[in-house]
């Protein structure tokens, strides 16, 4: 069970030397108690204290970084079973798989796709995270060549998958310093793989089936000195995955089985269940997911689901209220009012940009609620609109007094007119129709 900050403090050297990055031993102890720091940060701890503290103070799920540089990502460090209990912190990395039996052209195309493809939602760029290279050929040379082919086109996080230690060694000669994830240590080869992981400071995947075997292998690897582990639970089916992964998460966060406190790895390769596996992986605790390249439709759906599930439920993504410009609007440009829910903002902004009519967006503070939700909750009302017009000095920004409001807020139009003295035009309900609306209605009322 978790130790209290004071109990931890008693075990610290009490030098207050700040080398851990904290001002005092006590603040460091508080961080440790919250699972927010690593005992290794204090250089003066004796081994005894370390072993007592290590198991209980590290986050219930070990944090593991994969890759180096801009696209590197962290997984693990999760604390809850349900996102509504707090939030999920580290979205799973999704990596496309290539094989060393593919031609260099094929490998390059996939690599470049992962390097360049991005899909912007709510102001965030959604991307796949890297490339997993599989040593299907069995040949160390072919594997090293495939890894080089990937490396030549992009600096992406990698997973190196081989049953042949020689092949991994050959690949690591090329990319050892980029912290690829090595896949995978088993009961048979864990010593060799741990040695490799240590030599290159790489994270290591272990592969076993069943909780007992996983625990055993984790212990073996930790004894060999490798702590940055991810667990390939090698499920026999999506059903097996969700049962095992849920059990692991539950046992890890309650610290009933600290040996299972490592991120979960999922190979989603399957002739027709690949999308099911990915969707279940995203919602049920996978941290590294590898999959053959996805179709454009699956790609967008998967990235969107991941974004949804890893949004902090306590704070919907919000915009700062204010007056925003689309293009360079003049004083006679239209003013469109909307809420500060970022999804609404970016949706409307996207459509406004494509109309090519410069305009203003007046974003009012509905505490992150969408138009319909804000209207239903009474958060969007005439007082808010009046105060926002004042606060953002709209009267001086434009030379007219006409406000376009969202179609779904039509019931408020009369009250807004009364409270503000502005003329209100009710826009369409669907932002997709805003271009047509501006071209017709706005131009009409101007003339």
């Amino acid at each position: 069970m978790a130790l209290k900050a004071l109990d931890i403090y008693k075990l610290l050297p009490k030098k207050n030397c700040k080398e851990c990055g904290d001002p005092t031993c006590l603040t460091f102890a508080m961080k440790l108690a919250g699972g927010k720091a690593d005992v290794d940060l204090c250089p003066y701890l004796d081994d005894q204290a370390k072993s007592v503290l290590g198991a209980t103070t590290r986050p219930p799920i070990q944090r593991v970084n994969i890759g180096v540089g801009e696209r590197s990502f962290a997984v693990g460090e999760e604390f809850v079973l349900y996102r509504h209990d707090k939030t999920f912190y580290h979205p799973p990395g999704i990596l496309f798989k290539v094989s060393d039996t593919q031609t260099p052209e094929e490998i390059t195309t996939i690599t470049i796709r992962v390097r360049d493809e991005s899909f912007t939602r709510i102001g965030t760029e959604l991307r796949f995270n890297g490339i997993a290279i599989e040593n299907t050929s069995g040949s160390a040379d072919a594997f090293a060549r495939a890894v080089m082919t990937v490396e030549e086109s992009a600096d992406l996080p990698l997973v190196l998958i081989s049953k042949n230690t020689e092949a991994l060694i050959a690949a690591l000669v090329q990319v050892g310093s980029y912290k690829p994830l090595l896949h995978a240590a088993t009961k048979e080869n864990f010593r060799e793989l741990c040695a490799l992981a240590k030599k290159h400071s790489c994270p290591l995947a272990i592969k076993a089936h069943g909780l007992d075997d996983l625990k055993g292998l984790v212990k073996d690897c930790v004894t060999e000195g490798v702590k940055k582990l991810v667990m390939d639970i090698s499920p026999q089916s999506p059903g097996d995955f969700i049962a095992t992964s849920t059990a692991i998460r539950q046992l890890a966060i309650t610290r009933q089985s600290p040996d299972l406190g490592y991120p979960v790895f999922l190979d989603a390769t399957h002739p027709y269940l690949q999308d099911a596996a990915i969707a279940l992986g995203i919602v049920k605790y996978a941290s590294v997911i590898i999959t053959p390249p996805l179709s454009p439709a699956s790609a967008k759906a998967a990235l969107t689901l991941r974004q949804n599930i890893y949004t902090d439920p306590q704070k919907p993504i919000q915009m700062n209220p204010g007056l925003y410009r689309v293009g360079s609007p003049g004083k006679d440009a239209p003013v469109l009012m909307t809420v500060n829910f970022s999804l609404t903002f970016f949706t409307l902004q996207g459509y406004l940009e494509s109309t090519r009519i410069p305009c203003f967006m007046l974003i009012v503070d509905t505490e992150g609620l969408s138009v319909m939700t804000a209207v239903a909750a009474g958060k969007l009302n005439e007082t808010l609109v009046r105060d926002s017009i004042k606060k953002f000095d709209l009267e001086h920004e434009v030379s007219h007094k006409t406000l376009i409001i969202p179609g779904y807020s039509a019931p408020l139009s009369g009250r807004i007119e009364e409270a503000t003295g502005w003329k209100v035009m009710v826009g369409p309900r669907d932002a997709a129709e805003i271009g047509e609306y501006l071209h017709e209605e706005w131009q009409k009322q101007k003339s």
Binding site: H84, G239, D275, A297, L305, Q307, P313, G350
Partner: protein, 319 residues
């Protein structure tokens, strides 16, 4: 050492029966018992516990339907009984959910036609049915009673009761022994309140399915996902007013930007994947009936659910 996935919970999801076969006084070829879960969704290893069901949504006036489905289905959408039939024979749905969109015309008053439509659909397919009544409180009472009466004995699932609008549908369900869908906007407490209201006017727990309202993927789905998890979790902890099985329909999936604005060649695929990812995630959060509109999503979901179910039994994660 194995591991018990029941985590010490004592509650269970209630059971609801949908559809009646001849031996139960109906004409359906199968009836389903949904609910009964005693641990997290999809984890029950009891071979008798149900796997999520897939319903194909159809309607009797395609003017009000997604152009994507209309293009994909062609003339089929003009004949609601054939549409219902292909749901069963071609696409392999477990249930058919019929939206009486014809009633959405202004000043609709041809209640008789609703009975006729329902009859043709009942003869078009032998699957259990979900019927979505009118959108207009003024005609609710007549429409629901008509549906209830026409399909007496069939154990329909009638939709949709909401906080301000549940009496007519409850009356029809009570009079003709059908079940109903209780929908509340993404909120555990509202879901519970509605169930209490329904209970107070006599609707039994085993005749209610909760629809916590499903926002489309990317458009509020995360809220729905968590609401479902919380409802399920409350049930496991023993709250019987939330212990009804859940149904989800992400009806906005086919109108959101990513799907609507997909290149024509990709549009069907985009629609299917959007529904599919939502359906899988909703099932993982506890939805036991997943409703979709693209016919091709049905088979994808069914295969996936089958793989989850069969395998959950074979894992070594057991007591």
């Amino acid at each position: 050492m194995g591991y018990d996935l029941h985590f010490g919970w004592t509650g269970a999801i209630g059971k609801v029966i949908l559809g009646a076969t001849r031996s139960d006084g109906g004409t359906r070829k199968i009836s389903y018992q949904v609910g009964g879960g005693t641990t997290l969704p999809l984890l029950d290893q009891d071979p008798l516990s149900s796997s999520p069901l897939v319903a194909l949504e159809i309607c009797d006036n395609p003017e009000y339907w997604s152009p994507i489905v209309r293009n994909f289905c062609g003339d089929l959408v003009d004949s609601v009984d054939d549409w219902a039939k292909t749901a069963e024979t071609v696409y392999g749905a477990d249930l058919v959910r019929l939206y009486l969109t014809s009633t959405r015309q202004r000043n609709f008053s041809d209640i008789k036609s609703v009975g006729k439509t329902l009859e043709t659909v009942l003869s078009g397919t032998a699957l259990p049915l979900i019927i979505e009544g009118s959108n207009d409180p003024k005609i609710d009472s007549e429409i629901f009673l008509k549906c209830g009466e026409t399909a007496e004995g069939e154990r329909l699932l009638l939709g949709t009761a909401e906080a301000g609008r549940y009496r007519s549908i409850a009356a029809a369900a009570l009079a003709y022994n059908h079940s109903l869908i209780a929908q509340s906007p993404i909120d555990v407490n509202l879901a519970k309140q509605l169930n209490i209201l329904l209970r107070e006017i006599g609707v039994q727990r085993d005749h209610i399915l909760i629809d916590p309202y499903t926002g489309a993927l990317g458009y509020g789905f995360e809220y729905s996902y968590s609401a479902m998890e919380r409802i399920w979790f409350s049930a496991l902890k023993g709250d019987t007013d939330l212990a009804m099985p859940m149904i989800c329909s992400a009806i906005d999936s086919l109108t959101i930007k990513e799907v609507r604005e997909a290149e024509p060649a990709l549009q069907d695929d985009m629609a299917m994947q959007w529904e599919f990812y939502t359906g899988i995630a909703a099932a993982a959060a506890g939805s036991e009936i997943v409703c979709v509109r693209h016919p091709k999503t049905v088979g994808m979901l069914k295969k996936a659910f089958a793989s989850i179910k069969t395998a959950a039994g074979s894992t070594e994660v057991k007591k």
